[in-house]
């Protein structure tokens, strides 16, 4: 075996060339990221200098007066994405389990391809559906119900406008379900048959088999899927802009309109009122990039701790 590998190596420097090329490819991505970040920092310098930390602690955004502070946008982005993930994850994992473990083969295949079809729909279509179908429904049915039954909670207070944080959470949830589902499905398919059989042989019911043999094995992969979903949710622009109501305010109530970072960039960048306005929007872009990196980092940390804990156990 070793001898054969040696003869391959001696044949020429093909491997070395291949290595350099792939290295260049990998390197170019880092360079692009650095250039982008650098450019954004340079462009946002005027706003950074003028507002300092006040930019992320204040909430006054007034293009006419030249006052810019971005806390409501940061709040809107983080809250809408996290809530969407909390709702989408159980739904997606449940769907993936149904497809891989429970459904008859044909039903599973059809369901899987339908879910993947959802992923192919452009976000502006989701937005249009949201504004024409979903928000009127929320306004006439869901939100009055929530106000009537759960109005004592601070999360469901105020008038039912339809466009709201709730609408944004729902639309994001629908948009990230296909991503999480299809990745989770692939992960679950990779669970070794022997492991499942072993669980069943020990007398496990189907649910117990899923709980002790399937889910732990796929845990890290599913977490990866959730991270990808979160990434999409926090960066999603068009559909959210169309249903969130675009009002920069911080309110506990899910029924009140809100605003997100990508939305304000999309809304205002084309017609900025001057250099400072453009610079403030650039700084929001920078914060968005930073938030995404932090979330990714935290998710990786979580992934790492989870996989380490389970290493000795099952997989």
């Amino acid at each position: 075996m070793e001898e054969r590998l040696d003869t391959y190596a001696k044949k020429g420097n093909g491997d070395a060339i291949f290595r350099v090329i792939t290295l260049l490819f990998a390197f170019s991505i880092i360079v692009i990221l650095l250039i982008m970040t650098g450019e954004m920092v340079i462009e946002s310098l005027p706003a950074l200098r003028k507002f300092g930390w006040g930019f992320i602690t204040g909430s006054d955004w007034d293009a006419v007066q030249g006052n810019f502070a971005a806390l409501p946008y940061l709040y809107g982005s983080v809250v809408s994405s996290i809530l969407a993930i909390l709702l989408a994850t159980p739904l997606s994992v449940g769907t993936a389990l149904f497809i891989t473990e429970l459904a008859p083969h044909k039903v599973g295949t059809v369901t899987a391809s339908l879910v993947e079809l959802l992923a192919a729909i452009p976000s502006v279509i989701y937005g249009l559906w949201g504004i024409l179908v979903m928000t009127p429904w929320l306004q006439s049915t869901v939100e009055p119900f929530l106000i009537k039954r759960f109005g004592f909670l601070p999360f469901f207070r105020g008038a039912p406008y339809g466009v709201s944080m709730l609408a944004a959470v729902f639309i994001l949830m629908i948009m990230i379900i296909p991503i999480i589902t299809s990745i989770a499905k692939e992960v679950l398919l990779a669970v070794p048959q022997s492991q499942k059989e072993a669980a069943v042989a020990l007398g496990a019911t189907r649910w117990e088999m899923i709980r002790i043999a399937v889910l732990p094995y796929g845990r890290s992969g599913i977490l990866g899927a959730v991270i990808l979903g979160l990434g999409r949710a926090i960066g999603e622009t068009m559909a959210v802009t169309m249903v969130i109501g675009n009002t920069p305010q911080i309110s506990l109530s899910l029924l009140s309109p809100a605003y997100t970072m990508p939305s304000v960039i999309a809304n205002e960048f084309a017609e900025t009122a001057g250099k400072l306005h453009a610079s403030a929007l650039m700084e929001i872009g920078l914060i968005l990039l930073f938030v995404t990196l932090v979330i990714n980092f935290l998710a990786r940390l979580l992934l790492w701790s989870v996989t380490r804990r389970w290493k000795g156990g099952v997989a």
Binding site: A63, V64, I131, Q139, M242, N267, E271, T272, H277
Partner: protein, 342 residues
Amino acid sequence: MFSTIRRSILTLALLAAVTAASQASAETLINGAGASFPYPLYSKWFSEYAKIDPSVKFNYQSIGSGGGIKQITAGTVDFGASDKFLTDAELKAAPGKLIHIPTVMGAVVVTYNIPGVAKGLKLKSEDVADIFLGKITKWNDKRISDDNPGVALPNEPIIVVHRSDGSGTSAIFTDYLSNVSPEWKDKVGMGASVKWPVGLGGKGNEGVAGQVKNTKNAIGYVELAYAFENKLPFAFLQNKSGSFVEPSIKSTSAAAAGAVKSMPHDYRISLVNQPGKDAYPIVGFTWLLVYEQQKDAVKGKKLVDFLKWELHKGQKLAAPLLYAPLPENVVHMVEKTITTIK
């Protein structure tokens, strides 16, 4: 599967080759960029004009007024287009003398959704300002009902909807509000994006119109053409001369006709709240931005030819697309201005 991909790649390559060839055969390509509001009319103009002079081809990108101003200042396009006129500072930043050529006018209408109330709610301008300031909060406020005897206005809160995206429509509307209400001017001011005291933000005309349509007791503002096409109810607004005017192509043109006495030679004028019995109060020009000294003589000549055509034949195409044509006296003024382009 793979053969389909290969075929589509081939088709694409072929298409690219054909487009490249056709571009090479066109003699003059004139590039422009800017306002999206007049884009439907401009593209109609360019396609009609191509039939008259096939040797020139126009390429217009509707990237927004701000983008148009940036591009023409940087000299990356041959003409710019904008719904707002340039400030003195912006004019100074340009490498040459920029001329504003007004092409047509647009109007902004106030639309609403009050159950049982059709179009034609009468509103005083200061009342519109106070609604958008959040000072008039109910539809049956005495100030509104006094102007509308016999109309059953509900005792319900007014829900204000505004544009969330930076737009010329918002700029004209806030210009109007600043003009009629000192408090608005002081607290909010005018601009493509402002800090709205109250209300929800909808993206684009369709966002505002959709929100108003879905929300009982809502009020918002959209472009005249958009309101007409979608049959939205709109308010009759009181103008400077005291009459309540229905928004229309005619009353929009009347606003410019009323302003002609005070028209500056560079056409940098806001047309909101103009005098004249029939003048609708929320009206604005949209301009083309052209350098007086053209770098390329051939292009310059072609551009002037087009502007002359647009000013006469082109104006007739405006009304069917729901843009208000320039009134006769303004056309004469602009004619003279065009001759100064070299």
